[in-house]
Each structure stands twice: as C-alpha cells, then as structure tokens.
C-alpha cells in the first residue's frame, strides 16, 4: 500500500540528509581551521613580515599581495564581464553563433586554473613583458573569473521580466535607457552574486599566480603593480610543503586569515547587494 504521507516523510528525510552532508564537512573544515589557527593570530602575525625562514614573524606581505591581486582582478574583470553580459543578454541576436559563444563561456568556467596560469605566463609575463608582477597576476586571475562573472550576470539580466523592458520601451525610452534604468537595477543582485563567487575564487587560487606573480619569499610590501608579491594561498603552499619544520600554528593561522579575508570581501558584497535590494522593492 502506498502512503503519500510516509513517502513525503522519507523524501523529506533524504533531502535533509543531503543538505546536512553538504553543511557538515564545511562546518568541520571551518571549525578545525579556527581551532588550530586562532592561537596564531596576533597583532604581530598580521602586521609583521615573515621571519626565521618563514617559521616565525607575520604574513603581512602575503595579505597585502592577495588584496592587491583580488582588487586588480575585479577592477579588470567586472566591467568587461558586465559589458559582455549586457551584450549577450540584450543585444546579441539569438542565433547559433551566440549560443556557441554562451556555451564556450560556461565551459571556460570549468577550465583548470593551472591552464590559466600557463596562459597568463605566456601572454602577460612573456609576450607583453609585464614580467612576474602584480599586473600579470591580476590580469590572469581576472581572465579566470571572467566566465563566472559573465555567466552569472547574463543569467541575472535574462531573468528580468521581458514585460519590464516592453513597458520602458513603450514609454519611448531608448534601448540603452531601458538597460540602464530598468534591466540593470533589477539584475544587480545576481550580478553581485557572480562577483562574490569570482572574488572568492580569485583570492583562493594558487595555480594562476604561481607563474605570474607569486614570490616564494619577498619580505616587503609591493611598491608598484610591476612588483612581484607574496600571496596567501601560495604562501600557505610554501610553508606547508616547501619549508621544513613550520609549526602547525603558522599554517593554520595563514589559512584562517585567508578564510577570513574571503569572508570579509563576501560580506561587503552582501551588504551592497542588500542595499540595492532595499532600494528596488517589487
């Protein structure tokens, strides 16, 4: 005998289980990093350069380097990604070519990051002669997050009801005015979601910066965008695998700072998104 209520309960249980299985590992990771990393966090750790062959001192150059890289990547990728998304969603004719382009962009988001690293090395470091520098690293990271930003922004723009566009156009507004005043304000929260994802990815990746910017040991703050720089994910890799006898505290402390940095950047984007939503109530 089929019992719909029992079926529903079982279904509900499995759905809950699936969600719990996602939350649990994330929770465990965060808890263990915080537990092991928190003792390392001190004023000196955050504001000093690495000392004793990176077994002591602080990680300030890596923090600053990562901030520069993420900022550079977003400054480069957000405008281009947004304009590309606007073009694809609002202007491009829906034909085979457009669909191939959209598919290609979606697939680019899945390209392994080390491939972007090699690409950045060949194009920015060698061909454009930017050398291993913050500029090369930012551009490489920017290219890596472009597909994420374009895809998320395009989907956000396409989800704005067609009727809103028709209303605006029917009032004699031009196509650009319609995009600027109706489509963008209503798609902004999806665009920012894409940017948040891009930020997190740019901050955490090691491979794209490996050949383009990251310095093994560079205990000073970068002075220009043509300087090499340390970065948190690469620093973490170095002190975890390349330097012997680095304390657990140092490694987990670095991981915790990286985690915290991404969290802070995400919350800034969340706040911006929330304020946009409040201004545009349905």
């Amino acid at each position: 005998m089929r019992n719909p209520r029992r079926t529903e309960k079982i279904a509900f249980f499995f759905l809950f289980l699936a969600t719990a299985l996602i939350v649990l590992p994330v929770g465990l990771i965060v808890v263990s990093i915080v537990r092991k990393g928190l003792p390392a966090i001190s004023w000196q750790f955050l504001t000093d350069i690495p000392r004793e062959g990176m077994r002591g001192g602080g990680i300030l150059p890596a923090i600053v380097g990562t901030l520069y890289l993420v900022l550079g990547a977003i400054v480069f990728a957000l405008p281009i990604g947004l304009f590309a998304a606007i073009y694809l969603s609002e202007y491009a004719k829906d034909n085979v070519l457009t669909r191939i382009i959209k598919l290609a962009i979606v697939n680019l988001a899945g390209v392994p990051s080390v491939v972007y690293g090699l690409f950045g090395l060949a194009l920015f470091v060698v061909f454009f002669r930017f050398g291993a520098s913050i500029l090369s690293g930012s551009l490489t990271l920017g290219i890596m997050v472009l597909p994420i930003i374009i895809t998320a922004s395009r989907e956000a723009l396409e989800s704005v009801p067609q009727a809103f566009r028709e209303v605006s156009l029917s009032l004699g507004a031009s196509k650009w005015q319609t995009i600027r005043h109706v489509v963008l304000p209503n798609g902004i929260s999806g665009i920012l979601t894409g940017t948040i994802l891009g930020l997190g990815r740019a901050a955490g990746e090691t491979a794209p910066i490996l050949f383009t910017v990251a310095a093994f040991y560079h205990p000073q703050l970068p002075r220009s965008i043509f300087d090499q720089a340390m970065a948190l994910p690469y620093h973490l890799y170095v002190i975890s695998t390349q330097v012997p006898n680095v304390g657990d505290k140092m490694r987990y402390g670095t991981a915790l700072v990286l985690l915290g940095l991404v969290l802070i950047m995400n919350s800034v984007a969340l706040v911006v998104r929330f304020r946009f939503r409040k201004r545009h109530r349905w």
């Binding site: 809103f164 566009r165 209303v167 605006s168 156009l169 009032l171 004699g172 545009h280």
Partner: protein, 247 residues
Amino acid sequence: MKFSLRDLNVWFGSVHALTDVTMDIPANEILGVIGPANSGKSTFLRTLNRLNELKPNFRMTGDVRLSGADINKTDVDLLRKKVGMVFALPLPLPLSVFDNVAYGPKMHGVRTKKRQKEIVERALKEAYLWDEVKDRLDTPASKLSGGQQQRLCMARTLAVEPEVILFDEPCSGLDPISTAKIEDTMLRLKANYTLVLVTNNVHQASRVADKTAFFLSGRLIELDDTDKIFTAPSDKRTEDYIGGRFG
C-alpha cells in the same frame, strides 16, 4: 486620420499573423478591436508602436502611417513617445508610485524635481488616481490594488503626453468596479487622445468604442460604427462571434 494602414502583412517566422489589413483610425475616437484568441488583435496593436520588432523573427510589409508619416521611417523612440501603451496586466515598474509616473518624462530629459512633480500630478489627475494616491506617492507601486495599478500605468503613459494610447485588454484581470473606472477614464480621455482598445470582452467594446473592428485569423473582417457592428453586422462571422456562437 491619425493612423492609416494599407495592405499590412505581418509574419513571425513562417506564421502569417496579419493578412492584408487596410484601415483608418480617426483622431479623438475610441476604436474597439475584438476577435477570438490568436486572431491577430494584439499583433495589430503592437504594430502601431513597433513593439513587434522585439521578437527576433518578425517581418512586415505594407504601409503604416501616423499623421501621414511612415512609422518605419520615424525614429522608434519618438514614435513610442507619441503612441503610448497600456498592457494587459498591470505592470508597474518596481519603483515608487511617483517614480513610475515620472519614468517616461525623466527618460525624455525632464530633470528638475519641480517639473516632474507637476507632470506626475497632472497625469495622475488625468487617470483619476490622484485623490487615491496623493498621500503615498513614495510607497512602492506594487502596494496599490490591481485596479489602481492599472490606472497608474495609464497615468505613466499619459505623463509622456502621447497622441495615441493603445490598450491591450486593459481590464482582463480586474473586478467589475475597477473595470468601470478604467472605461470611464477612457471615455473622458477621448477628448484629447486617440484610443485603440483591444478587448476579449465584446460588451466592453460596445460600451466604450465609437468604431469597432472584428479580426479573425489575422484578417480584418469588418470595421464599422460600434452600433452597426452590434446591431446589424454585414458579415455573418461577425454576427456569430458577437452572438457567442464561436470563439
């Protein structure tokens, strides 16, 4: 004549949506457009402000003139400023009451707040909504009732000072009292504007329209004075449709 259409044909891909439509729409009258679903009423209406062009596979032939000027040679934004539209469902933009009405004027370069306020007040009064919303111009438009939202959409169209207003089944989601208010407003607007009303409700056409056009399968079957269409139509199919025998 406000609009003159000669041998208008419209296709969407391989679908022939309108066939050989020829008609004149006189100024300061209400033209009712009736017909069953898929008869081309809305396509006809959206031809007049070139909204059909948003569909990628749209194609048209024939001659459509607004006050003597070919609409396809007119700047499309200017045409749509002259030919406003009220849609089937109340579609306020996700903005405040004030900003909804001020949207069009702002897009056309009205910058000062004072001028915007004057326009908004005039438009809301013209749509007979002013008294109901004058104390809550800053509330989101979505907080208004369905009938109020639809009159807000009328005010939004009026704020751009069009010459013609197209109504695409403007009362399809409204209760009888809201419907009566909208119809009442349309009758009063006739003095200053030319109105084209597409409706699924033949009684609505008989109540407000001066002339009525009957569409069937993309063809204009009959266009005559509303009284004549509803009492002595010359085509059997018009009589059948109005009598409720099909459609």
